[in-house]
């Protein structure tokens, strides 16, 4: 990858962030629109969890990750502290991989 391409990528990636936070963000918005925007993490983060857990490239996959993240969900549901949830997710996934 050439330097100009790398800098273009950096510029593009930064542009998305600035577009959201600075250009469109921080404006006075109708209450309903604000409510929608406040819901963005609630919509995107579970989607991200699902994609990171249940897919590889463009395929649905059920593997060790599903077991590990399932265990993490159980830990979070039982109100385990954050470091515990994350370690449970990784450890169970690693254990299932080691056994498989």
């Amino acid at each position: 990858m050439s330097w100009p391409a790398l800098l273009a990528l950096a510029g593009g990636a930064y542009a998305f962030k600035v577009l959201g936070l600075v250009v469109f963000g921080g404006r006075e918005l109708p209450i309903r629109l604000s409510r929608c925007i406040a819901l963005l993490p609630a919509a995107l983060l579970p989607a991200l969890i699902a994609v990171q857990t249940l897919s590889t490239d463009d395929r649905w996959v059920i593997d060790a990750r599903a077991v590990g993240v399932g265990a993490a969900i159980l830990a979070a549901w039982r109100r385990a502290p954050f470091p515990v949830v994350i370690v449970v997710g990784a450890a169970v996934t690693a254990a299932v991989r080691a056994l498989a």
């Binding site: 600075v22 819901l39 649905w60 993490a72």
Partner: protein, 235 residues
């Protein structure tokens, strides 16, 4: 209220834990970047300047598999687009002067958004954003440097289940969003949209398209029980 506080992790500890996992992936990225033909300086510059892990992995992945620069940029930018949605959601938290917001913009990523929006009050949200953003930035760049210099001592992060550490961490950070009906509906719809699109859309699009689920917020009347997030934004 105490229930919500319990659900929100302490940003500092949580950010360091998250940063450590990110650091290991930074090493993998550094190794992969150099293997794909980037110089050490380019690998390090990419992590410093692009600072979006998924996009960086996609870019060097395309290059390594012989794809064109255009294809690499396209895949990487599709994955970077969701940071725009995160920026929008973070804008009520990260108010201030323009230079401050331009600096904060660079740290708008999955981890900082999740850590910030999991908190209940404005001060904690700010602390969550900066703690996660700075921790991930430091560890990601350190990892990249180590990996690019050939320090692949740790090996495949998947052996330690670290690829599952991120969704697991996000699970913990999503809990506070699920306290309102609208949050639960947005989560459910977003998940369905993303999973349906996985086989048919390029990487990055499924999670981005999940944003359509926020239209649930247009419903009338608002659910008064769980509108703590929305009311904070409105004020």
């Amino acid at each position: 209220m105490s229930k919500e506080n319990e659900a929100s992790p302490d940003p500092l500890t949580a950010s360091i834990v998250l940063g450590l996992a990110v650091g290991v992936f930074g090493i993998s990225f550094g190794v992969l970047a150099v293997a794909s033909g980037l110089s050490v300086a380019q690998a390090v510059a990419m992590s410093l300047l692009v600072f979006t892990g998924a996009s960086q992995f996609a870019a060097v992945g395309v290059i390594e598999s012989g794809g064109s620069t255009g294809a690499a940029l396209g895949s990487a930018l599709l994955l970077a687009a969701r940071n725009g949605a995160y920026g929008l959601a973070l804008s009520p938290t990260l108010t201030g002067r323009l230079p401050f917001r331009l600096l904060a913009s660079h740290l708008v990523i999955d981890e900082s958004t999740a850590m910030s929006t999991a908190q209940v009050d404005l001060a904690s949200r700010r602390r969550g954003f900066w703690a996660a953003g700075i921790s991930v930035f430091v560890f990601w760049n350190l990892g990249t440097l180590v990996g690019a210099l050939g320090g692949d001592a740790i090996g495949d992060p998947e052996r330690f289940g670290l690829d599952a550490a991120f969704p697991a961490g996000f699970v913990a950070l999503v809990v506070p969003h699920l306290e309102s009906i609208d949050g639960r509906l947005a989560a459910l719809m977003g998940t369905v949209i993303a999973l349906v699109l996985v086989p048919v859309a390029p990487a990055g699009v499924p999670v981005l398209a999940a944003a359509a689920a926020v239209l649930i917020g247009l419903r009338n009347p608002p659910s008064s029980a769980g509108s703590s997030v929305a009311t904070e934004v409105a004020t």
